[in-house]
Assembly symmetry: C2
Homo-oligomer: 193 residues x 2
Amino acid sequence: MNYPNGLKKKTTTMQTTPVTHKNRGMNLEDELNQSNEYYREIDKAYIYKKPTPIKITKVDYPSRDKAVIKEAFFTVPSTTDYNGLYKGYYIDFEAKESKSTTAFALSNIHPHQIKHLQNIEKHNGISFLIVRFTTLNETYLLTTQKFSVFLNNSERKSIPIEFFRENAYLIKDGYNPRVDYLKIVDELIGGRK
Amino acid sequence: MNYPNGLKKKTTTMQTTPVTHKNRGMNLEDELNQSNEYYREIDKAYIYKKPTPIKITKVDYPSRDKAVIKEAFFTVPSTTDYNGLYKGYYIDFEAKESKSTTAFALSNIHPHQIKHLQNIEKHNGISFLIVRFTTLNETYLLTTQKFSVFLNNSERKSIPIEFFRENAYLIKDGYNPRVDYLKIVDELIGGRK
């Protein structure tokens, strides 16, 4: 049996029922991690999720080589969640899920993350948002350029779904990788050459 | 007063005594963080240290919006500590200090980090090690290419200081940035064109 990207089935337990996010029980982060792992396995791209930033305030050393963090706090991330390397390009993006069926609230993205995405674009990296509308089961890649167009032309506190449908790239569900966003990145790279 | 890079003094408390690491009380990590912050301030490069990877096993929620991590463990990093974007290039490196005056122990670098550095190089990113011999007060940038040459030609479990002196780039101490490693990266980029 051949899979969409021409690769042979690797495990014998792969599901053959239609792909929906509900029956897979994976969220966008899980699927992106799986996709990035797949990209690494086939030596295509080296993109990782950054560890969650925390501030450690108390550490115990029950033995010489062992440390147990006893108190720590989540801190506001200064950058985006994902970055890495693809075809010589620096890739940087933030990924978010929304339950809304009408719009993506801008409160999901910190202002300094927006600034970061814009800095990356300015310095010839490739940066974007991946937004999944979970209820609609629609996942979009929105380039920083289009995102900035929206921000510069609207006072709204959320981006309507119509804006995504007209200005972002729909990422189709896949088997492996589940979120094949590099297919879209290929188009972005093509547009630069 | 003009500083080495032609920039004017920004604060009035900048030290004028000779720069040594002892009297500054900063370690390599602090100095790299300061340097990267400086690079961002002048819109030169966007390179960050990744958060320390940890596995969180217990979280308390004393109130609705507040989370306190009550138990977590340090985990082995899958990649390097620093990555980012400079002049359109993906930059990736690991930084280590050594007290030795004779050699840098390879046990400081995990095998999968070496593999990661090599993958980056293969995919046209720029990757390297920054190693500071604290007792000697010598800081080197060793490219992954030269690092691999050593690994392929030696059974030793440490890299002798002589190898650094002959094959790596010495990074001179500076005021701002303190570790101006991008000056060396400029040479690496020049060599690629």
